[in-house]
Amino acid sequence: MKNSTDPFKDFIRESLRNYEVDPPAGTWDNILSRINQGKKTAFLYVLIPAAAFALLLGAGLVFFLPGKRPAAVSENSGIHVQAPAAGTEQTITEAAGNASPPSAFKLKAGSTNTSASATSSGSPLKVSVTLAAKPADKHITAPAIEPAPEQEPVEGMYAETTPAEVTDSAASELQDFSEDVIAVLIPEAVPAPDPETALIPVTADLPGQDQTPEKTSRSWSLALHYGSLQDFSVEKQDLTMNSRDNSYSFDRTSSRVAVETSFFEDIENTSHNPPVSFGLLLSKPFARRWAAETGLLFTRLGYTVRTTEINDEYKEYYTSLDYIGIPLSLRFNLIDRRRGGLYISQSAVFEKGVSYHTSITSFTRGDAEGAGNIRNRVSGLQMSSLTALGGEIRIFNRLSLFGQAGLQCFFLNSTQPYSIRSARTAWPSFQSGLRLNLK
């Protein structure tokens, strides 16, 4: 309180000291509804990233759940069908070269309309069939059905038998082959094989099958990463401190700048330092292509506000902000090879401000002198969502180099001090680092 020597001023202040007027009815209801509206908006900022995270997690679990997969057929495997002896029943089973349990196959004709005649009578024929497929085709070309040479049945190749389908008609057309469907025809007379359906070797590259052995290790991995952006100056009004929006908390630093710059009107320039972040991430694959990640992040933000020069004098406010954060991420490997891979990741990052300091420097005709320091506390949490696309290159056996680029969106900025994030809530994110597979 200043000691006033103006009696008129004292009179005015005394008159209005206890001046009260009833506000209009309904004012409190309006205030309450606006407060609740703000809570709902803030809740959405939490709900949307949480929902995105839960969705990704659920999708990952769906992929993780075991499902039917077409049986692999090893290279040059053959299915030998031996016609059952008269009066017996026989089922053709898989003669797969791998260790998977045998399953019944049915053959269908290829797209070239291979036909085979079958009769219901006559002695059964031995049919030698080799499944074949071109890597790009979804169909197995129709095998030529020809009398098979006499051969001893391979132990374990045949299981219980059922009568093969036999028709009285001259030809029964076989439609399509697929690797998991094969019907047995044991014709008495078989037409000459069609050259277009000549047998070709089966390769392991059947459609739907993995073409390379599984590369993803199920072991933990530890990553150290560094992220930064190019620094820039901000001269556009909407990116500096201003009195028009509340996208940051009003604290002693912003208040001091407001007083010195006539409510932010006399800000000459705001320069933001490149945000720098370091992190330690722990990853654990939980499905063939999915991994969950978490860890610890450190981020430093900084900016300088310069006031308009008046009478050869101006001030600079340099503010630095430090955050410690915990990311929760899901990573999906788009491509995973021995030498490297490509992935996408979705993260929710929760950060807490641990240091907030402003130093003030006055300049008179270019000469600087310290003018004060302000230390503030940062309350609340900074939340953000990061979506990124990354690539990884294996350097040594368990060590790889990775880099990723993405977009990071920041929420709950009104609880946080002014920074580059409140100037604009979405920023590109670039990170690179080293990943070590632990065993």
Binding site: F8, F11, S15, Y19, I31, S249
Partner: protein
Amino acid sequence: MDETLLLKDCLKGNVQAQKRLYECYARKMFGVCLRYAPDEAMAEDLLQEGFIRVFTRLGTFRNEGSLEGWIRRVMVNTALEYLRKRDVLRYSTPLDEDAAIAEYDEPEAAGRPGPDLVARLIREMPVGFRTVFNLYAVEDYSHKEIAGILGISEGTSKSQYARARAWLLKRLPSENTSN
């Protein structure tokens, strides 16, 4: 009412506590808003906006002074922000800096005008005079501080106050006489 306990409950988001805080200070703060706003409707908007900021930023109150003083500052800042948006403060009328401030003879207690009259007359002032007058005479800011807040020169602040004071003095005795 235990102010500390009330603050704690408000910070927790207790609606009842917030309503108690509002009921405690709403009448006084509406009086503050009426002094800055051009009309009652705008004063109500300023009151609502001010209290929302109070509840939003209550965590920044550091107990450096009274809660009423802090709420009043929030209300005044809200009003000033509104006035800046309307760009009604960026004018100045040159005035002879050496002009003497009119002498004021403090009336006897029985003849003093009441607060309602004083407040009404302040509201009737042109907005530029009114803002400087409120900040200097009522909120007790210095002319240097007012110049920084409003983005005007110190001389302009002094001259605006002098003119506002003279305007009010001219009306106080005649109103008082008529009453």
